[in-house]
Amino acid sequence: MSIEIKNVTYTYMPKTPFERTALKDVDLVIEEGSFTAIAGHTGSGKSTLVQHLNGLLEPTSGQVLVDGVDLNGKGSKSEKLAARDARRKVGMVFQYAEHQLFEETIFADIAFAPRNLGLGEEDVEARVKEAMSLVGLGYEEFKDKSPFQLSGGQMRRVAIAGILAMQPKYLVLDEPTAGLDAAGKNKLIQEILQLHEKKHITMIFVSHNMDDIACLADKVLFMNQGRVLLYDTPARAFQAKDTLQEAGLCPPQIMSFLEDLRDAGIPVDTNALTVEEGIANIMKAVKGKNG
């Protein structure tokens, strides 16, 4: 099972003076169970691409299949229904998701989508409870509060819980940690990792933070000018210096540090995705020379 993006091209405002091709012949498969990071400079097509993953945008040409079903199938009635169900498998958390909160209480906000699915109140409550616990918000403490009384990090959790209540199989997170302080960011990243590991939700994660990508992802997709520039493991992706530069990206901070250290004459292994790995490499290189 997977999301297949088949030769997708997308043009904004075709046949107008503002016509712009945001995606060009994008062809890739996101496997179920993977943790895929999407990076690229602003305007590279990342957000346009992820909006295709649950049918918010329809390809100008090409196809998007979720578990084999065309998201934009509109032939027979059964095809349309299958497309709707397939779109529901893919949850989407936008940039600054907290701006989309609107209900009076946190419960009502998270319950909005499951209620729209036509679930009974008991099921709705069960889903809200589960979603809140998944993002680390105590049910009794928060359910009756207004979402607008919360801190930025908490509001973003409520927004994510609202999507989790739909029980998506695939979850797209567009810059989930932007604007959060260090503590809020680390906590949210831990929660995302748990969702992936414990609930087996396939993650698609758009980020500008190469440090986060290096720690979290098992696949990295670099976009540039609406095309796929590279789709590989983080270890190999961040070694591809020319590609990184072409994409307007830089390696994780720890790798840049190790490269500078190597350039200063220490023969250190620059291949490290986390600070801990980097420190191990430093200890080996610096001690090694001491004999």
Binding site: G40, D181, A182, L261, I266, V286, K289, N290
Partner: protein
């Protein structure tokens, strides 16, 4: 007299109501003309509330905020203050109003009654500064987040303000966009002497400032040059802030028994130390 003076300033949201919340508590802070001040602090520490006082978007519940000698509570002074202090917010979608990029940038000077020729000059100058000239006839909603943010900065520049207050302007940008925005801000500061108040969560951006102010729970808890602030990683963690990479590596190596001197926060300094260690010295004496 300093350009900006906050005197015993408190701000309480929903005062007198059940959800009353003190966001700033008796803050005293002066910012000199031409200074570059970075403000750090966790979410909810009062940074944005403070920023909104600087051009009278919020008024103090108690105490005073003065800009170029004018008290923000004097209603007659508000327009003059807003002309002197330009604001750039975190999310550009909340501050772009026109249907075409150039119109958006022209909006501020038009309202000031600037002659059309001069407006045209300012708009093209501002677009050039943020490297967005080729997008001047675009509709803003067709731009990406980073491009929109640069338009917002251009809008403030077209007002030819003396002071720019930027509230996490790079939170949504890619690394290249971030360095472009920061580079633009630095250039405006250095070449035009613009006073900069820069709120950020990125420590590598704060290093560019002359002075850093750290906020926690509505109080200013520390002020100093970057070296003073980043030399104490324990405190940064206590305030829920990121630690610069070099300080983090240094601390972790120390815990493994390595003799790395304290107070290192720049990568170049740490590399120097490591190179000396590799050359055979058992420890290196700090500066």
């Amino acid at each position: 007299m300093s350009f900006i003076e906050l005197e015993n300033l408190s701000h309480i949201y929903h005062k007198g109501q059940e959800n009353e919340f003190p966001a700033l508590r008796h803050v005293n802070l002066s910012i000199e003309e031409g200074e570059f001040v970075a403000i750090l602090g966790a979410n909810g520490s009062g940074k944005s509330t403070l920023a909104k006082h600087l051009n009278a978007l919020l008024l103090p519940t108690e105490g005073h905020c003065r800009v170029a000698g004018m008290d923000t509570r004097e209603t007659d002074a508000v327009w003059e203050i807003r002309q002197q202090v330009g604001m750039v917010f975190q999310n550009p979608d909340n501050q772009i109003i026109a249907a075409i990029v150039e119109d958006d940038i022209a909006f501020g000077p038009e309202n000031l009654g600037v002659p059309p020729e001069e407006i045209r000059r300012r708009v093209s100058e501002a677009l050039k500064t943020v490297h967005m000239r080729k997008y001047r006839t675009f509709a803003p909603h067709l731009l990406s987040g980073g491009q929109k943010q640069r338009i917002a900065i251009a809008g403030a520049l077209a007002m030819e303000t003396k002071c720019l207050v930027l509230d996490e302007p790079t939170a949504m940008l890619d690394p290249q966009g971030r360095s472009e925005v920061l580079g633009t801000v630095k250039r405006l500061h250095e070449e035009k002497g613009i006073t900069v108040v820069y709120i950020t969560h990125f420590m590598e951006e704060a290093i560019a400032a002359d002075r850093i102010v750290v906020m926690e729970k509505g109080n200013v808890v520390m002020e100093g040059v970057p070296k003073e602030i980043f030399g104490t990683p324990e405190k940064l963690k206590q305030w829920n802030l990121d630690v610069p990479l070099a300080a983090d590596i240094s601390e972790k190596l120390r815990r493994k028994g390595w003799k790395i001197p304290k107070g290192i926060y720049e990568s170049e300094k740490l590399i120097e130390v490591l190179v000396k260690m590799a050359a055979g010295r058992k420890s290196v004496v700090g500066e």
